[in-house]
């Protein structure tokens, strides 16, 4: 099952995706974060803004993902995790984070990123190391936004980050609930 997703992801990356220069991408993201830090001067607030931006990206990104990957609905949350890591991340960032720490009820999982294209060449200022600052927090927003558009309400947050001196970069994704389609009264 996992192999099948990997093949889908590889194939889309090879053929159906337009590519840009990685340095340009890293620099663009870096300047966004730097500007936010300058404007807000509070790392907690910057985290929130990055997550919000990610959310807006995610709600749009999912349409592109579905249009290009042509995949059907996932049967359970585990499948969703595999889909995100092998097809989603592959398609957009050309990385395949590992899916780990799946909870017993299958409603939580972690993504461990071996490499992070957003944070290449980045070193956090000392002040950021003291406070809880997640440089790549936009990714959490993207996950939340895109999953919400496919009827899943999730909570996604960084657990550790190599930029902060931790061993690994880990994002935790928790399923809060499935969103059922509801029709307001009087629609009929």
């Amino acid at each position: 099952m996992a192999k099948q997703y990997k093949t889908i992801g590889d194939e889309i990356w090879k053929n159906k995706v337009e590519k840009i220069n990685a340095e340009l991408f890293t620099l663009t993201y870096g300047s966004i974060v730097a500007q936010l830090v300058k404007d807000y001067e509070d790392f907690g607030e910057v985290n929130k803004q990055l997550e919000k931006m990610g959310y807006n990206i995610g709600t749009r990104l999912i349409e592109d993902f579905l249009a290009r990957s042509n995949v059907g609905r996932c049967q359970d949350f585990r499948e969703t995790a595999e889909m995100i890591s092998k097809v989603g991340f592959k398609m957009f960032l050309n990385i395949t984070p590992a899916v780990t720490n799946i909870s017993a009820d299958g409603r939580e999982f972690s993504l461990v990123l071996e490499e992070n294209p957003l944070a290449e060449f980045v070193e956090l200022p000392d002040q950021a190391a003291v406070e809880d600052f997640w440089y790549s927090n936009i990714l959490c927003g993207v996950l939340r936004g895109s999953l919400e558009m496919v009827q899943m309400q999730v909570d996604s947050f960084f657990v550790t980050d190599t930029l902060r001196g931790d061993e690994i970069t880990e994002i935790r994704v928790k399923l809060i609930r499935y969103l059922e389609e509801e029709v307001p009264a009087g629609e009929d």
Binding site: I62, E63, A67, R68, M149, V150, Q151, L179, E182, E187
Partner: protein, 148 residues
């Protein structure tokens, strides 16, 4: 429409209308996993509708979704979208009926099942109020007619 049709469906667990067929035309409904619905009016003989629908979805996701100034709930006003859609329709060998003005009338029936722009605590959906498309004139013309 979807709510009504999924209730009257003879098969349980239906996801709503997929196709409506009459003597002179067929209406196809393509629903994405995000709740966006595309309605396509076509000639009954028109082949490879599924493939065409997927291509339309791709054009939509390129020129509407990726435009940061295009609000998902609002009617689509994108020249690029119109241009590429026309190209696609022509390539499938269809004719495009224009209504009134020179522009193709675009009113994509967009029915997302979540409130856009943030999580609403009540969890209820607000389908956008879209006007009914004008009565299609002379549908008997052969080929693909895009009544989006």
């Amino acid at each position: 429409v979807h709510a009504i049709t999924s209730k009257i469906s003879p098969v349980p667990g239906s996801s709503g209308i997929e196709m409506l067929e009459t003597d002179t035309f067929r209406i196809h409904c393509f629903q994405t996993l995000t709740g966006t619905k595309f309605l396509l009016v076509a000639d009954p003989q028109q082949p490879s509708i599924d493939h065409t629908m997927k291509k339309i979805y791709e054009v939509y996701s390129d020129y509407c979704v990726k435009n940061p100034f295009q609000n998902p709930e609002m009617p689509i006003r994108s020249e690029q979208f119109d241009v590429h859609l026309l190209k696609l329709v022509k390539s499938v060998g269809g004719l495009v009926q224009t209504y009134g003005s020179n522009n193709v009338y675009s009113n994509l029936i967009n029915n997302s099942n979540l409130t856009s722009g943030g999580i609403s605590n009540s969890g209820s959906s607000t389908p956008s109020q879209t006007s009914v498309p004008p009565t299609l004139p002379n549908i008997a013309s052969s080929g693909l007619e895009l009544g989006v």
